[in-house]
Symmetry: C2
Subunit: 368 residues, 2 copies
DNA sequence: ACCCTCAGAAGGAAGGTTTCTGCATGATCG
DNA sequence: CGATCATGCAGAAACCTTCCTTCTGAGGGT
């Protein structure tokens, strides 16, 4: 070839911040580039002496392999995406915020433990951002069937695992979800056992699977038990609408004597509404809502909540995703159903009804 | 040696879906690679006709530029890190969780709006993860002066902006923080104005700047006012220790008639402790704590909180970081002090003391 | 003495982009 | 009419690593 441009063999021009490259390490150690790569990555056949020597020199030079170059070469970036659908401008949903925060936390831990880092990417973010980051795979929270980003990713062959059953025929590699039907049935039974005669539901207008499955379970339970359904639906992403819906529910002529709210803020919404109507909780109204917020332990009265165990879900989702990325585990789609937990507090335990004064022999302090 | 045949079969998933490269686009469009690159990136001198044509072809082929290649070439990854110091295994601190969640949310939005994505990276995570991801810059939350990761990043010339004044001489490019002293003084004045005679403090044992500045401000206020300081300190990262410390504080012979708690859970901790000692809030004890949790609006009674406005901080931190990355803005370190907000609720407003029965002429419902 | 084997190490080709340089072409101007 | 210049586009280097292939001796078997 033309010997024209071959000049800068070992002279760093100095314009950069002098990050040592593998070349520099090779030169300093008196070996070839290949040997350096092999020594540092534990590959090839090298005597321990060489390996040690190379590592030492690399350390001395403060050598850090270029993530970009490695990614380009190996096709692996060590990055996995965490995608949430958004309403409006904010990257996270409001209603599921405590859930999402916990889930993201667990997912981050799990990813890290296997050497991956997590990138937060709202589904509706600028397309260029999605294009600009090399992802080995993606976790999608509550994917909608129309989600263009997820569809595109799947088309490109990027593994996708979803938290929540994928709506429609979205071809994700695996999903993890709670058994929402069972959870709702459990709550309804719990409320009925506490003495509820007419159980109401505060639900959402959106078509995601969580809302749909929960509502269906409620309706079926009503049919089975022979109770007329009493429910109000509202757009769950609107924080104010919940309070209004709670109020509407308790204003009905066929007012329920127990309510389950599907979304996190429903507990306080319902509590406020109950106060407005002079209803005592739990004496006149039993309350349960689905929430991860610890705040419900400190309301007056404390409110029984259903936890979806987001920690477990976040962990499971990431494990499945990384398995898919690394080719471990089954090639077929995996569906994993995780249990929920009902945290029973005062709001769903009816006190002996005769007297409101004498406490039922239990001291005020909870244990531990 | 022990490298027992790490033979990653080169077909883990087996489905590299022949992503179209820039070469393919060039061939299909009948132009050179250069022209494609220029056309898509809006550079070079090309007539609109060519530009349109190339874009069309690229679209038709579903061409997505390789993020890795672009990063390698340009040195920009479009990724910024979000680093939190950790206690134990969990990636986020417990005590600042609501704060962190809000802050991270705002940071994600701000980054996205400028075309960057956020990577969550605990400071104490495995070193290989740090090395494996190419960051254009990093946000560090509450950096400790001994943090090896941050030091290393700065050494490599990666821009670092911190949320919270950097401890020691950590050479960050900029920082954003609240005016903690002013916030504490404001709270103390507020409590004094509400009738507090002896204000206690629930603080932490750690040496971070938040704790230190707040405590100092308290002590100075006490000296100025002539009140004997009454405080308890506990390890803030231990969730149980807070409850114990709250109890200790209220058990003291010189029991305060008002308390400010520096950490998020202190509100409920103090409330529980007050109940145990039969103290009514706010009649016998005024309460304020620093928290971003909306739950404190629904406790009984609602608790006055100091908000550090994490949204604003997250946004500001990211703006400064990206400015530094892109070379916009001042080259000198920037310090930005953000205001706080005191959300006054029942727990810090002493009712007229004579009667506990008659409400002070205000109806129960707030104005909508 | 010769060939074969194998450890140890090096060479060099991708990998896909951006971008600097440079070559044509046709237009403009002195 | 020739020199200059703007325009439109192409070639190829560089970014840094990984890994497949090849080279070189040295030692051992026949």
């Amino acid at each position: 070839m033309t010997a024209a441009g071959n000049h800068q063999a070992s002279r760093p021009v100095g314009r950069r911040l002098e990050r040592a490259g593998i070349r520099d390490v090779a030169a300093a150690a008196g070996v070839s580039i290949t040997t350096v790569s092999d020594a540092l990555n534990g590959k090839g056949r090298l005597p321990d002496a060489t390996r040690r020597h190379v590592r030492e020199v690399a350390d001395r030079l403060g050598y850090r392999p270029s993530a970009a170059a490695r990614t380009l070469r190996t096709g692996r970036s060590g990055l996995i995406g965490l995608t949430v659908t958004t309403y409006g401008e904010e990257p996270f949903t409001f209603t599921e915020f405590a859930y999402f925060a916990e889930m993201a936390r667990a997912a981050t831990s799990a990813a890290l433990a296997r050497g991956y880092a997590l990138v937060i990417l709202p589904a509706s973010s600028r397309h260029d951002v999605w294009g600009n980051v090399a992802l080995d795979g993606t976790v999608v929270v509550d994917p909608s069937d129309q989600d263009p980003v997820v569809t595109e990713l799947v088309r490109q062959g990027v593994p996708v695992v979803s938290d929540g059953r994928p709506a429609g025929s979205l071809p994700v590699h695996a999903w993890v979800d709670n058994d929402h039907e069972e959870a709702v049935l459990g709550i309804l039974d719990h409320l009925a056992a506490a003495g509820a005669r007419r159980i109401g539901l505060l639900t959402g207008t959106s078509t995601d699977t969580y809302t749909r499955l929960s509502t269906t379970a409620y309706l079926e339970w009503c049919e089975r038990i022979g109770q007329e359904p009493v429910y109000e639906a509202y757009p769950a992403h609107d924080p104010c609408a919940g309070a209004v819906a709670a109020d509407r529910l308790l204003a009905r002529p066929d007012r329920p004597d127990a309510v389950y709210g599907l979304f996190d803020p429903n507990g306080t919404d319902l509590l406020a509404a109950a106060r407005r109507y002079g209803l005592r909780v739990p004496d006149d109204l039993l309350l349960v809502c689905c929430s991860e917020s610890t705040g419900y332990a400190a309301t007056e009265p404390p409110i029984t909540t259903l936890s979806l165990k987001p920690r477990r879900i976040g962990t499971a989702v990431v494990q499945l995703l990384i398995d898919a990325i690394e080719g471990v585990g089954p090639a077929h789609p995996v569906q994993q159903v995780m249990p929920t937990e009902l945290i029973i507090r005062t709001s769903s335990q009816r006190r002996p009804h005769r007297t409101t004064v004498s406490p039922p022999r239990t001291s005020a302090r909870g244990e531990g």
